[in-house]
């Protein structure tokens, strides 16, 4: 009865029938109370975005998998302390982190959001070393500014690591004869597997992602369960139908790309999007990375799953290990293994692990963690199995053409390593490009992205990243790149907040409102949509409404740094500096390398004439983004206000060099030169600027002022006249007119403007 119930639950999950799954799981737990079944129940709740329930169910449990699931629930409920305590029990400092790389990833996130950067970095690195395909961890490292070159993580060693993992899988004794359906299940599973870790992350960010993932993890678990229960009865496993169904069930959900089984995922994504922070970004990226690959794999999915599943089942049965963790892990592992078929073995492997764990794709971490758990359990299984396994293992290693079940396919070990290398090559390029992007080495990053094959470059994710790089120095190109990204993947929200800012800068109010409308329609619960909407209002100078929209974005996802920064900008526009400062500081709490917030703070202090503070904050922004001419220009302004005019000039020169198209530092340079009484040099600069921006009133006005100081009254009059003709603002018009009146009056120290 237990096995059937488990099977049925997994089936429901696979089909996103959450209420059915939850109901049946409750019956299961009532009839057969065991921690494994509790995990399944919690999994159902997590899949349907009810982390609270999962939290209560798993509170106090001890199995590694349970602790992992519990930690996920805590993280989703923002109870970071508890999550940390579960993963790293205080009284067992050397305990292994449950679910291996996934667990480390989750820990990394926890440490990041509790301001312990070093620990976070350490755990992300651990996660990557255990699972080289955990892109999300590498992304986090980049965002924290602590990533080493991509080649260090996605290199040869990684390929070997992946192969080893698969080999371990394959060594499980092939106890079962072929079991039919596993095929479909496996392949799909495998495919989804590959996508799953990433996809779960993506799912968070992307509403469009089908809920496949969610199904998969649970299924993995459930398949594990029946296996457990069926331990005594190997024949049960051999029975194709139940096992198969389970596996099949597992597969489809995971294969997001293969079968956009949208419902589950979408809802979850929707719910998750408010919560998705970096995860969504990571997911989005991963999604794009995976898409191409997944499609390839799905083609090859429908191959040998039955063999796989039988093998897995065999393993399960062989492993009479009472250790539930292992068992559950095994279960998932098995299923995942099956599923991963078409994709290169490493991928399949990944997907397997992911599957097992976590139905709640909301958290990428889950995905990662699951993978690890699966891997571990598999390893456990293989290790705990009798020597027969090990001998088999040895045999398989020795065999040249060793057949490794990977994602529903059987690949030779050489193929595994080739496949792994292929993936890693791709990840290396993407990783390196992303790392450079986070360091704001825009040209280098763009060049690296160019190295991608066309089919990868022309995906929404990559194009969004390219857009973000162009945003730093060329709004028109950024507009183009983002436009293409939207064509490729209109449902992608990641990076769209930056796009809306690009349109804001370009003053394209039509395009901006269109974008905002589309984004809101795509996903009302994504912070990016409300950021775009807010930018719309801000462009029309309706700062109060803009602020409301940005605050909504913050509510939807407090870990989305940009929303905080935009709130800050609006407060400053409304001259509420206190709140503006608070918002900028919130943004920096989320992401201390968010240079926009440092810049925002610098501007506020500049306005408040707290020049020391201002200079410090511009310095911080500059250190993060050294190629921004705007930051340099303001740094120079602050230095000039501090009377460090020589330094200011040096900085202005740098600013001018950083971006020839930016006229502001040149203007500032002229200003500084004038205050240093180097009038001729100032005039020279301004003459140049006249060519560049012939309708810029401030150029003529400043020239007028300088000519007055040089007592060249006619020239001064000429320039003031031109300035007035260009219709300045009331304040400036008044100032200029006043200046004209005073032309023949001897110099006053500072015009009181």
């Amino acid at each position: 009865m237990e096995a059937i119930l488990v099977d049925s639950v997994q089936n429901s999950l696979r089909h996103f029938l959450h209420s059915n799954a939850i109901f049946l799981s409750h019956r299961l737990c009532a009839q057969f109370p065991s921690e494994t079944n509790l995990q399944l129940l919690a999994g159902c709740y997590l899949q349907s975005n009810q982390a609270h329930s999962a939290y209560h169910i798993l509170k106090g449990t001890q199995m590694a998998q349970s602790r992992y699931l519990f930690a996920i629930s805590c993280f989703q409920m923002n109870l970071l302390n508890e999550a940390e305590a579960t993963l790293c029990p205080a009284n067992e400092p050397s305990a292994e982190v449950p679910n291996g790389s996934a667990g480390h990833y989750l820990l990394g996130l926890i440490y990041r959001y509790t301001d312990r950067k070093k620990n976070a970095v350490h755990h992300f690195k651990m996660a990557l070393s255990m699972d080289p395909l955990m892109w999300a961890a590498y992304e986090e490292l980049c965002i924290l500014g602590s990533a080493e070159e991509a080649v260090a993580f996605f290199g040869e060693a990684a390929a070997l690591c992946i192969q080893k993992q698969y080999l371990n899988f394959s060594t499980s004794p092939k106890l079962h004869s072929s079991t039919e359906d596993c095929n479909l299940v496996d392949t799909r599973h495998c495919v989804s597997e590959d996508a799953s870790p990433r996809q779960s992350k993506l799912m968070q960010g992307l509403k469009d992602i089908s809920g496949n993932h969610h199904g998969a993890p649970v299924l993995g678990g459930t398949s594990g369960q029946p296996i457990n229960s069926g331990l005594s009865n190997i024949s049960f496993y051999n029975t194709p139908a139940p096992t198969m169904t389970q596996l099949s069930g597992v597969a489809p959900p995971l294969c997001r790309n293969v079968q956009p089984n949208g419902s589950n995922m979408s809802t979850q994504s929707a719910e998750n999007s408010p919560r998705s922070t970096v995860n969504s970004t990571i997911q989005a990226r991963r999604k794009f990375v995976d898409e191409g690959k997944l499609r390839k794999i799905s083609g090859r999915l429908f191959s040998d799953s039955p063999r796989r599943s039988s093998r897995l089942s065999g393993d399960a049965s062989v492993n009479a290990n009472p250790n539930t963790t292992a068992v559950s892990g095994n279960g998932t592992n098995y299923s995942s293994k099956h599923l991963g078929g078409s994709k290169p073995s490493s991928r399949a492997f990944r997907s397997v692990t992911v599957r097992k764990g976590q139905p709640w794709a909301n958290e990428n971490i889950d995905e990662g963690n699951h993978n690890d758990i699966l891997d571990d359990s598999l390893l456990n299984i293989t290790s705990t199995t009798s020597t027969s396994s090990s001998t088999m293992e040895a045999k398989s290693y020795e065999q040249e053409a060793a057949n490794i079940p990977v994602g529903g396919q059987v690949l030779s070990s050489s193929k595994v390593i080739t496949g792994a290398s292929e993936i890693l090559t791709l990840l290396r390029v993407l990783g390196e490009a992303f790392r450079l992007a986070c360091l704001y080495r825009c040209q280098d990053a763009l060049e690296t992205y160019q190295k991608l094959p066309h089919k990868h470059y022309n995906t929404g994710w990559v194009l969004s990243q390219v857009g973000k790089m162009y945003y730093e120095f060329d709004y028109l190109e950024a507009d183009r790149a983002f436009g293409l990204a939207r064509q490729m993947t209109p449902y992608n929200l990641e990076g769209m907040d930056v796009y809306s800012t690009v349109l804001y800068h370009l003053k394209e109010d039509m395009k901006l409102s269109y974008l905002a409308q589309e984004l809101i329609q795509t996903d009302r619960l994504a912070p990016q949509s409300w950021c775009a909407m807010g930018n719309c209002y801000s462009l029309q100078k309706d700062h109060e409404t803009a602020l409301k929209n940005f605050q909504r974005a913050v509510q939807l996802n407090p870990r989305f740094a940009y929303a905080h920064t935009l709130c800050g900008h609006e407060y400053v526009a409304l001259e509420d500096f206190e709140n503006g400062i608070k918002c900028y500081q919130s943004a920096l709490r989320v992401d201390e390398r968010h240079y926009n917030a440092w810049y925002g703070l610098g501007m506020v202090y500049l306005r408040q004439e707290k020049f020391e503070f201002s200079e410090h904050h511009f310095q911080m922004a500059f250190q993060i983004n050294p190629q921004s001419s705007v930051i340099l220009s303001y740094l120079g302004t602050a230095l000039h206000a501090l009377k460090r005019s020589e330094e200011a000039l040096v900085v202005m020169e740098k600013a001018i060099l950083a971006d020839k198209k930016n006229p502001v530092p040149m203007y500032q340079k002229a200003n500084i030169l004038m205050s240093l009484e180097k009038f001729d040099e100032a005039l020279e600069v301004l003459e140049e600027l006249k060519e560049y921006a012939p309708r810029e009133i401030s150029v003529y006005a400043l020239m007028g002022r300088i000519y007055k100081r040089r007592n060249m009254h006619e020239r001064a009059m000429l320039h003031y006249g031109i300035a007035l003709d260009l219709k300045p603002s009331a304040t400036d018009a008044a100032a200029i007119k006043a200046a004209i009146e005073k032309l023949h009056v001897p110099d006053e120290m500072d015009d009181n403007l």
Binding site: Y475, T501, Y504, H505, L506, K507, N535, K541, L566, H569, A573, N596, Y599, M603, L606, R607, S628, S629, V630, I631, S633, T637, A641, D659, K661, N662, P663, V664, Y667, N671, Y692, A693, R695, E696, I697, S698, A701, L702, R705, L726, P728, S729, A730, T731, D732, A733, A734, A735, K737, A738, E741, D751, L753
Partner: protein
């Protein structure tokens, strides 16, 4: 708020006399309302018709004074601000003998040194009235002051107390870029003037 000032208003001006009044409040985009930064007080008021009715953006509510003339509305800022325009909403049709007739606007550092900067006489006004504080000299476009006082010296039909339904004060928008002598006007400059 956009568009030009009072151009379409049915306001007539004749030697400091104002009549008519806009129904719609339209103010230059160059200007922004500064009332939120000030402390508002009145010389006297009837319960339920206090100073808050002057600032509630509701034309149904009004301030009613309760004492001898002249009646004052005092607007005090924490630091010197540049003011360019005062806008009042008064309506003879609704308020009749409570409608202000002679208004004097004073400015200064505090109660001790207020000086009159504007005086107008209203003739059956019916809506928003724009009282510009600018002088003829371009240097006098703005009044740079700590305090503004709007004094109602007399009412229509010799009424004792007065009704004013709303008051707003406007000054120029500051330069969005701090520490700049002039505002940027061209796209080339504006695009590069901030990071968002």
């Amino acid at each position: 708020m956009s568009l030009e000032m009072a151009a379409e208003s049915s306001e007539g001006e004749e030697e400091g006399k104002l009549s008519g009044g806009n129904q719609v409040l339209i103010v230059d985009e160059d200007l922004r309302e500064l009332g939120k930064k000030a402390a508002w007080s009145v010389s006297s008021c009837k319960t339920g018709n206090g100073v808050s009715s002057l600032r509630d953006d509701n034309l149904e509510t009004y301030w009613q004074s309760d004492g001898a003339q002249p009646h004052f509305v005092n607007i005090q800022f924490q630091k010197k601000v540049r003011l360019q325009l005062v806008v009042l909403y008064v309506d003879f049709k609704l308020d009749e003998s409570y409608t202000p007739s002679k208004i004097s606007i004073r400015a200064g550092d505090g109660f001790h040194n207020l000086k009159e900067i504007k005086a107008v006489e209203l003739v059956k006004p019916t809506g928003w009235l724009y009282l510009s504080l600018s002088g003829l000299d371009p240097r006098e476009t703005f009044v740079n002051t700590f305090m503004l006082q709007i004094a109602v010296l007399s009412n229509h039909l010799n009424g004792r107390d007065t009704h004013v339904r709303q008051i707003k004060v406007y000054g120029p928008r500051p330069n969005p870029i701090p520490q700049q002598p002039f505002q940027f006007t061209s796209t080339e400059f504006i695009t590069y003037s901030t990071i968002r």
